[in-house]
Amino acid sequence: MAGIEETVISAGIDVGTTTTQVIFSRIKMKNTGGFGSIPKIEIVEKTIFYRSRTYFTPLISEEEIDENKVREIVEKEYLAAGVHPDEVAMGAVIITGETSRKRNANAVVHALAELAGDFVVAAAGPNMESVLAGRGSGAEALSKKQNCVVANLDIGGGTTNICFFENGKILDTACLNIGGRLLKITDNRISYVSKSLEPLLGKEGSIIKQGAVIDGEVLKQIEYIVSRLCRLLEQAVLLDTREDVFEQMVTSQAITCNRIPDIITFSGGVADCIKEKHEDRFPFGDIGCLLGKKICTSSLFKEKKSGSASETVHATVIGAGNYSMEVSGSTIEYCNCSFPFKDIPVLSLNVEKEQLYAITADMKRKLTVFYSEYAAGSQIAFAFKGIACPSFEEIELIAEGIGKAVIEEYSPAQVLILVMESDMAKSLGQALRRRLPRENAILCIDHIVCGQGDYIDIGAPAASGKVIPVVIKTLLFSE
C-alpha cells in the first residue's frame, strides 16, 4: 500500500558572473500516506552526490558568454560524475548576476537545459536567483527551524541576491549591483571597472579607472568604495536609512517588506572571504576579500546573529539542483499528454464559490487578451486557488464552465492545463474528461501555488505516475 518509493537524479547548473558550477543530487520521493490513506508522495531526501570544481565562467567578451566552452564544462562534468543526460529526471540551469545580462544569455541557458536532460529547466531572473540562493544556502530551513526572519545575502561577483524568509516562507526578494568583482586588479593595476560602480565614482573623472596603478591614493579610494558598498548592503536589509544613490544600485527590485531580519546569513563567493583570513589584499585579483572583511566589521555582523550560511559559494547551484522543483498533489488527473511542457505562461482564473457560473466568460476573456500578445493557439496554463472541500455540484459547475470554454476556444492541439491549490484536481479532471472528447489532452494538478504572469514547467509523471514535478518561474528574462 505504502510501497511507492522512487529515487531520481537532479542536476543543477549555475553560470554566474564569476564562476560556473554543476552539481548532481539524488532526490527520493516516497509515499508517506500510510495504510488506508490516499497516496501522499513527498520528497523525503535530497543528497548531493557530486559537486564539480568551480570554473571561471568563460566569456568571449564583456558582452558575450562563450557558449561552446560552457557546453564543454557541462559535458565534462557529466562524464566525470558518470551521469548520462537521459538519467537526469529534473533540475535547473540558471544564469545569474552580470552574466544574465550578456547578449546571448537566453540562448545559452536554453541550449544548456536541452543538453542537460529532458526536464532540466531554464531559469533566470534576479527574483528566481535570490530565491534559489536563499534556499540552497540553508537560510530557508534556518528560518523555519528558528521560527524567525532570516535574510540571506548571496554576494557573487557582480550582484548580491537577497531573500527574506520567515518561518520557511518567502517574504521578499531583492537584487543589487554589488559584488566582489566590480573591480578587477591585475599586476598591481586596475584592469576592469564594472559599469555598476559608476554611481559611486562621481561625475568627474575618478582616479578609479582601468589602467590605474594601485598606489596609496588609489588604494584609499578603493577601500572607500568598498565601505560604501558595505553600507549599501546594510541599507538593503533595512538596517539603515537608504541614501539617494541606493536606487541606482538596485538591479530589479529592493526589499520592501519592512521586516528587520533576526538573522543575516551570507552565501556566494564573497561569503568565503568573510571567514577566511588572507595576507594579500587582492588574493583573487578583485575586491571580494576587502568586501568580506568590511562586512565582518559592519553592523551586518555586529548587531545580528549573523554568519556564513551552511552553503556559501555553492548556494545558487544547490538551489537550482535541489530546490527549483516541487511535486504536485498525489490525486491528480491527466490523459493524452506528452511531457514535458516547458515555459508555459500562466493565466489566473476566477474560481469563486458564488461566481462559478461566470467561469466560461472569465476564461474566454483572458484567452482573448492572451492571444493578442501571443500566437493564437499557444499553449497556456490556467491557475486558481480552488475551493476547500468542494461538493459534487460545485465540481460539476466548474467542469461545465471550463469545458465550454475549451470546446469553443481551444484548438485540438492545445492541452487543457489546470493548476490549483486546493485538493480537487482528480475529481475536477474526471468531471472534465466526462465532458470533453476522449482524444482531448487534459492535465489537472493540485497543491501548486502560482498566478498570473508566472511561467510553469511540467515534467513527466513520477512515482508510478502518481505525482507530477513542476517548476514555477516567477520571472523570466525581462527583455
Binding site: 500500500m1 490513506s37 490516499i38 490525486t331 482528480k426 474526471q430 466526462r434 508510478s464
Partner: protein
C-alpha cells in the same frame, strides 16, 4: 468563561490551549498548529483545567452520540434509496454483538434480491457502522462522483442501498448474494475526539465468507476534516478500475 460556555466545541483544538507562563507564546501556538491532539492545554495542580475538562466531555459526548445515534429515515429517503438491516435490533446489539452486525437474515436478503439488479460489475452500498452522521455528511458527494466516474468508464454499478447496524464484513454476504465482481462498502468510521463524521471505503474483489481481512483495499479518513469526499471518490474510481483489471484487491494492489 461565559464565552466558552456558549459553544464548547467552537474552537479547533489547534486554537484551544493555555499559554499562561509560556515564554514564547508565538512558538507555542506554532507547535499547536502541527496537531489536533490535546497538547498544551494547561493544568490545575494534578488535574485538568475546567475548560479543558468541559471540552473533553463535550467531544466525548459528540463521539459517543455519533455511535449511538440512528441514521434518520428522512436522510435515506432523500438519498432515494431503500434500507435493510443486519441481525442487530438496535445500537446496543450493534456494540455488544459484532458478529450479528455482519449477519443478514433471509427476509432482508430477499429484499435485496427483489430491489437490486443482479450481477453488476460493482456493487456499492452504505453502512452506518460506528458513525451515523458520516452518511449525511459524505454520501451525497462521495457516491455521485464514484458512480459518474464508473459510468463514464462503462462499468455497471449496482443498485445502491443502506444497511442499518452495518459492519464491514456484510460484504462477505452481500457481494456473492448480488453477484458483483467488486463490492464497495462506504461505512461510518469509529469516531475519535477530533472528528465525528469520518467515513471509510472497504473495497473487495469477489468477497466471500472465507476471505482474509487483508484482501480489503481501504480508503479511510474521508471527511471535510480529512480527505475531501470528492477527491477520495475520484481516487476510489481509479482503485476500482485497477482492482477489476488485476482481479484482486487488498495487499495485492500496490497503491
Amino acid at each position: 468563561m461565559s464565552e466558552i460556555m456558549s459553544n464548547l466545541t467552537e474552537k479547533t483544538m489547534q486554537q484551544f490551549g493555555c499559554d499562561d507562563g509560556i515564554l514564547e507564546p508565538g512558538l507555542f501556538w506554532k507547535a499547536k498548529e502541527a496537531t489536533p491532539a490535546r497538547i498544551g492545554i494547561g493544568h490545575a495542580g494534578a488535574r485538568c483545567k475546567t475548560d479543558s475538562m468541559l471540552r473533553f466531555l463535550a467531544d466525548h459526548a459528540q463521539a459517543s452520540d455519533s455511535v449511538f445515534m440512528e441514521v434518520d429515515e428522512d436522510i435515506i429517503k432523500k438519498l432515494g434509496i431503500f434500507e435493510i438491516h443486519t441481525r442487530c435490533r438496535n445500537k446496543e446489539d450493534m456494540i455488544l454483538r459484532p458478529d450479528w452486525g455482519r449477519i443478514i437474515e433471509e427476509d432482508q436478503q430477499m429484499l435485496l434480491k427483489q430491489n437490486c439488479i443482479s450481477n453488476p460489475k460493482v456493487q456499492i452500498y452504505f453502512g452506518d457502522g460506528l458513525c451515523s452522521p458520516a452518511i449525511a455528511a459524505n454520501i451525497p458527494d462521495l457516491y455521485k462522483v464514484i458512480s459518474s466516474g464508473l459510468d463514464f468508464e462503462g462499468i455497471t454499478v449496482g443498485t445502491p442501498f443502506f444497511v442499518r447496524y452495518c459492519r464491514v464484513n456484510t460484504a462477505r454476504i452481500i457481494g456473492p448474494l448480488l453477484g458483483a465482481e467488486v463490492t464497495c462498502v462506504l461505512i461510518g468510521e469509529r469516531p475519535g475526539l477530533t472528528t465525528a463524521e469520518s467515513m471509510s471505503a472497504y473495497i473487495a474483489y469477489k468477497p466471500h465468507p472465507l476471505m482474509l481481512e487483508s484482501e480489503y483495499t481501504v480508503v479511510s479518513n474521508i471527511s471535510r476534516f480529512g480527505i475531501p469526499p470528492v477527491e477520495a471518490a475520484a481516487h476510489i474510481v481509479d482503485l476500482i478500475i485497477e482492482i477489476l483489471e488485476k482481479k484482486q484487491s487488498g495487499i495485492h494492489i500496490d497503491y
